[in-house]
Subunit: 460 residues, 2 copies
């Protein structure tokens, strides 16, 4: 009898699950079809990239992007659209950088560099010095002040090619860029040149943020990235003759903070309006390309999540917000500000999803959440299978949503295919032509599907 009862229970559970699953299957199908046949993400990105262009915090581009995305969100018939003020740092590159390797006085070989974001300028006539190549901070330490003082430190540890996820290869290298000046200046170095965070061999320097934390103003040394081809050239030339000199000139500077904004739109929830679920990307970009992959893609995908929900006839129970964060690249002021205000207002953010890993074919998500929520996600895997979304792992979510972390909420990051990402990251070839429309739209649909499921079933 007991067995029979259990079987019945199992049967009804199974039937029930099946019903849910069929509705969900249909909803996901609708969402993906909408995005692939009627998506707006590609058109929005076209405007953002080709009509506005790069959007470094405090720049005219960033200002235009705020106005444009607010206007576009305004057309979607959301319940609310507003700007959240946030003060942001303003760093400007100035004139294009210039650099060469000098083998003997007067004999020079030009190389491709760009100032790292936040770096100070060189003296007006540039900086020329001998070069010490190192692979890591330990090597730097072992060389000591004696061999470093007065020289340029050249960090040349390449990204590890045999790591499958390129973000792991980035993570294993980026200390050179971010912390390189702080470490080198401890030993009296006069400048820093860092190998670009790029797995390809090419001629493009890749910028990115760096810090001077703990270094007094007068001891801050100019820092630049060199292209991977030129890093190899410099390294070879140093092996042939370590007496060569490196010259570079850059005129970047840090100006006063300026007013900027996060751009926010909301569909207010029908049943639990006080439970907030957000999707977002960052509206600012570096200044060398037009920021199509980093993170124009995440911006337009996030915008389209709300539109796709509406177009698919889904009325969310919870309040769904799109948040376009300002200043992720060199300050994270927008992300911090959003979390700070949410806390002040006691807003309960149960879910936050960020797309900030490029507009490539989505493979899945990584989740920063507890086991119950993660198991809930795993139970949805079959729903995603028809869309070739297979990757569901615990891991990082996104820098902008990170400050919203609580013990019970779910933070997630869209995980697109990462193989091409660092070919473009922070470089002049992060441009619209590197975006594939379908890949971008599949990402928007995949985000929408996850939002739909968490809204429908709540957070376990």
């Amino acid at each position: 009898m007991k067995v029979l009862k259990s079987a019945c229970l199992l049967f009804s559970l199974f039937t029930c699950l099946n019903v849910i699953s069929q509705t969900d299957e249909a909803s996901l199908k609708k969402i993906y079809a909408q995005s692939l046949t009627n998506g707006k993400s590609y058109d929005w990105l076209n405007h953002l990239s080709n009509q506005i262009g790069s959007r470094l915090s405090g720049s005219l581009g960033a200002e235009k992007a705020v106005a444009y995305t607010k206007e576009e969100l305004g057309k979607l018939g959301l319940d609310k659209v507003w700007l959240q003020p946030v003060m942001v740092p303003r760093w400007v590159r100035g004139a294009r950088e210039f650099a060469f390797i000098e083998t003997v006085p007067g004999k020079t070989n030009s190389v491709n560099i760009c100032a790292l974001g936040g770096s100070v300028a060189t003296p007006a006539l540039g900086l020329k010095a001998h070069v010490v190549e190192v692979k890591n901070f330990k090597e730097l330490e072992s060389l000591g002040r004696e061999q470093i003082a007065g020289k340029i430190v050249f960090y040349n540890r390449p990204m590890q090619a045999d790591l499958i996820e390129t973000f792991n290869a980035y993570g294993g290298c980026v200390d050179q860029r971010y912390q390189g000046a702080v470490e080198a200046s401890k030993y009296g170095a006069v400048g820093v040149i860092v190998r670009s965070m790029n797995l390809r061999l090419d001629d493009l320097p890749h910028t990115g943020s760096m810090t001077y934390e703990g270094v007094s103003v007068e001891n801050r040394i100019p820092s630049a990235a060199i292209s991977t081809n030129d890093a190899n050239l410099l390294s070879t030339m140093l092996q042939l003759d370590n007496n060569i000199k490196f010259y570079f000139k850059q005129s970047c500077k840090q100006l006063k903070d300026v007013q900027s904004y996060n751009v926010i739109g909301e569909i207010t929830g029908s049943e639990f309006p006080d439970e907030y679920m957000i999707v977002g990307g960052h509206l600012d970009s570096w200044d060398l390309g037009d920021g199509s992959h980093d993170d124009g893609a995440g911006v337009v995908q996030s915008m389209d999540v709300l539109r796709l929900l509406k177009e698919s006839g889904i009325k969310p129970k919870r309040s769904i917000r799109v948040v376009l964060f300002m200043n992720k690249e060199n300050g994270l002021r927008g992300g911090k500000k959003y979390a700070e205000e949410a806390k002040q207002k006691g807003e309960n953010h149960v879910f936050a999803l960020e797309s900030d890993a490029g507009g490539f074919t989505p493979r899945g998500f990584s989740f920063d959440c507890n086991n119950a929520s993660f198991n809930q996600v795993l139970s949805w895997q079959p729903l995603f299978k028809p869309y070739l979304i297979h990757y569901f792992e615990k891991g990082r979510s996104g820098a902008d949503v990170g400050p919203l972390k609580t013990e019970t909420n779910v933070l997630a990051g869209l995980r697109p295919d990462s193989q091409r990402y660092f070919d473009h990251h922070h470089a002049s070839n992060d441009t619209f032509d590197a975006i594939n429309k379908r890949e971008l739209e599949l990402g928007a649909a995949t985000m929408t599907a996850l939002v739909y499921l968490f809204d429908k079933y709540g957070i376990n």
Copy 2:
């Protein structure tokens, strides 16, 4: 007691499986690391694409590609390298095609077309006629001879954007290109213009094979592909005025068959030399681009499978062959020839894997095999997980290996990400710059891993 015995058995089985799995994990790790840090596929493809270029059957490019790949295989220290003679068709495009839409006499609008592979030429001064747009053969039939005779049939059914796998969208459209002339000529049409098999809107016409099967020589009508942008233009102009005319001129022709070759290399098996496992791609390409994705990628990946096995210290038990097939695009003569000779010689081909879906990030494989073999593959899924290889489905293998099909063997096709494939397929932008080195290398490693496993464990 029985329970205990079973538990013991289960335990030893588990332990045994675990041991196997650790060795296999290490082997796969070695294979992927080799490919990503020391792969040859990208260099080979650079030569094939940039030094040789397009490789249509019977062309000088195809001849050079045979010589080059044989020479390169010769350097790998394989047990045998040889050419397998095969006669192939030779079709030449001639002068660049030219086409326009004529609204009123003398008022023309140029459009981008290319002759379909195998098409006859237009008359020397070109062909001008009214146009009938149809979406499929049924519509053609319903219009009948009365409305079609003397006109150009314009097939304009687009690839379906909401299909996730783009090959399915291709499969749903390609009858227009392949069979379009046969069907249109039944009703007295004088020419065929077909919308390019391309999911993007752009200006590039995409060629591809077509047939005149069953159509007498004097009734063969010239057929060309038009770019997707121009297909939309033509369709719109027809809606505004169905009295407009279309002009096109092409001077392609079919010449006599010529001698060519499949290129084959072999590592002879240490235990079961009479069991053959092959990996391959097709050496010929269409003539508009340089055939980097279709199928230069498959060629160099297949070559690298044998090299990666050697470099990873793996000595196969079975004989592993790389087969570079000639003439897949317009005849499949190479694939047929290889299977025919294998049958004549009584060679037991237990496994065949083709890479012919582009050099993009590999997602997995599709298998044409029985359930026992397929379950064997499924048991290996965890081994592939660290490499983000998730897709293991029953389905098509590859055109060239198809003729090797038996009831017990395993045919497989590498399945790369398909989103960008038809942007380049058979068009002038199928070029080396659209290849990402890591994606190509991941494909080669993934193929090698599958070959390693089937060689080690045999075919279930």
